[in-house]
Symmetry: C2
Subunit: 342 residues, 2 copies
DNA sequence: TTGTAAGCGTTATCAT
DNA sequence: ATGATAACGCTTACAA
């Protein structure tokens, strides 16, 4: 038994393969009786059209590529789900590639993804290599940077200001009366979100005329709970009179909280704690941890919207002879969730 | 400026496109000078070969499809990373599809993935619909069920026994002297891993002649921390004299722990807790939580191995005229991590 | 070592 | 509403 082709269905239905093709993609353009007969045969035979062949002929691959550093993250998961939901009505599939937080891997991943000619490519991290940028630009495929709004994005961007959000939450700590505030971040974060968040911390502290020396940023990204705990321990060893600690992410903040639990320190009385990202752990910890709310769902939905909009613009551009599509930037709001830890 | 094709590179190099094709895929079959000239042109021009066209011609798509329920899970992340590493040397890419824990979505996802003709398809959940099974079987594409070893897998399988692992950890609790042991699980888990884990709980309890009525399995899968906490609260309300609680997963166990923290209950003195899956939270919680160690990396590596082996078997099968490849089952070991919570 | 010719399985385009 | 034909951009198979 060989693999079925469209022509096999066509022969069985007594029509040409073009009619089968139409019955499958644009049912209205085929007579009802013919269509029903074809669909019945397709179903019975288990025929599955070959998208490789279809893609070659139509020059539409039918999928959008989502590149994430890791698939172990609720925000990427929600973003992916929302992106998928937003693109499904347009018949676009989402295929996910994982770079595993390795910059060299991203370059590779981008190149292998481009080979499959996605209809758009969504990036979730910044700090791309020059070659990555060149490949993306030359591919003529719409590129969307997400999460942060880069000053100079490769193509379009949907995101929020990590710096502004961090500034906001640190201002909250300051308004609570904490003065000796420490910061726990990640190492090697030049050109990444971590840097921007730390910048936000500095913005708030300097504006309030507070001391900014209590910083520890040596965890390997992405910082995890246990790293957060050990950073906290070293922070306290070095600056024992610290009153509050601002962490680059919720898992790190939870790590700091567990250190307090082991020391028998009351939170927030002895030590206030704040995180970033509204992960489940910050809601469930005892006490719950103050954090910055970010919405992967919103990001995914907006990104889907943008992709569909770009697609339409391109269609009408082809019709009108215009080829230039302006770079789009979508800025999302963030808000802080004040909880018992501060 | 139009998209570059292989022929453009060929013309620039003064060779035929076949030579370019060879220089790119089997460098040794092209004269050194020619090859260098071609590779230089490719690099300078930013030409990226079209895998859609290549796939159609060669009947090899060059990718393996990994279908996960969600990308918010460290185990799938590690499995994906290991799978990727294992397949990369063979020139196989891993593309991830997400079903979002919706059974209807899985059917859809399988079908759209099949359209792209992956060279193997890796499934991470069980309980497939009849149509899904039919499509997979008729596709003639190698299918690998992972995590659990189903009694009747669709194709091949790499996994461990959830039932046996759960039995082991419950036996540990029993050996510690706990008698009134409760169970917190997920609702609607017929045919899924949850059912098998609960079965393992029953196995151990019945073998020890202990009461098995303290079960609460009404959380919506996948159970999360807050659901674990509320299940625990209801368990305690109904059976206040419970001594230990076995949870279907670590996040649920952590939820139970936070309830104890809020009640001021000592763990394990007043309440012993055990989880499943060795998530980071169980290592970082205070006290750390006893759990079952599972290795996504190992699963991914073994799965990659199996895929390469099947591929070779197929190659030599084609040469020898044999077409039948036996179903493979790979069983991995699990172990329990005894920690302070029990 | 390189080239030529013929597809791969679908869809675009133009007829009818 | 349906069909014939020619791509789509590459690789296979064979020839030189």
């Amino acid at each position: 038994m060989n693999k079925l082709r469209m022509e096999d269905i066509a022969r069985a239905a007594g029509v040409s393969s073009m009619t089968v093709s139409r019955a499958l993609r644009a049912p209205d353009s085929v007579a009802l009786a013919t269509r029903l007969k074809i669909l019945k045969l397709v179903k019975e035979s288990g025929y599955v059209p070959d998208l490789i062949a279809g893609g070659l002929a139509s020059k539409r691959s039918g999928f959008v590529s989502l590149l994430v550093p890791s698939i172990n993250n609720v925000h990427y998961a929600e973003m992916a789900a929302a992106l998928k939901e937003g693109l499904a009505p347009a018949g676009l599939q989402v295929l996910i590639g994982m770079s595993n937080y390795q910059p060299s891997s991203e370059e590779n991943l981008v190149e292998t993804m481009l080979r499959r000619r996605p209809e758009a490519i969504v990036l979730t991290n910044d700090g791309h290599s020059a070659r990555t940028k060149k490949l993306l630009l030359e591919s003529r495929i719409p590129v969307i940077d997400t999460w942060e709004l880069p000053v100079k994005p490769i193509g379009h961007a949907v995101g929020f200001s990590n710096r502004q959000a961090m500034r906001q939450i640190v201002e909250h700590l300051i308004s609570r009366g904490y003065k000796r505030i420490g910061y726990i971040g990640e190492a090697n974060d030049s050109g990444t979100r971590g840097t921007l968040r730390r910048q936000g911390f500095l913005d708030a502290m300097l504006a309030a005329n507070l001391d900014t020396t209590r910083q520890l940023a040596d965890a390997i990204p992405p910082i995890n709970m246990l790293q957060g705990r050990s950073s906290f321990d070293r922070l306290i060893e070095r600056w024992p009179d610290t009153q509050a600690v601002m962490c680059v992410s919720d898992p790190a903040a939870f790590g700091a909280l567990t250190s307090c639990q082991m020391r028998g320190w009351k939170v927030p009385e002895r030590m206030a704690i704040a995180g970033f990202g509204s992960f489940e752990i910050s809601a469930c910890a005892v006490p719950p941890i103050t954090t910055v709310r970010v919405s992967g769902r919103e990001l995914g939905a907006k990104t889907a919207e943008l992709i569909l909009q770009l697609r339409e613009a391109k269609e009408s551009g082809i019709r009108s002879g215009t080829t230039n599509i302006r770079t789009q930037k979508v800025l999302l709001e963030t808000s802080i969730l004040v909880r018992a830890s501060s």
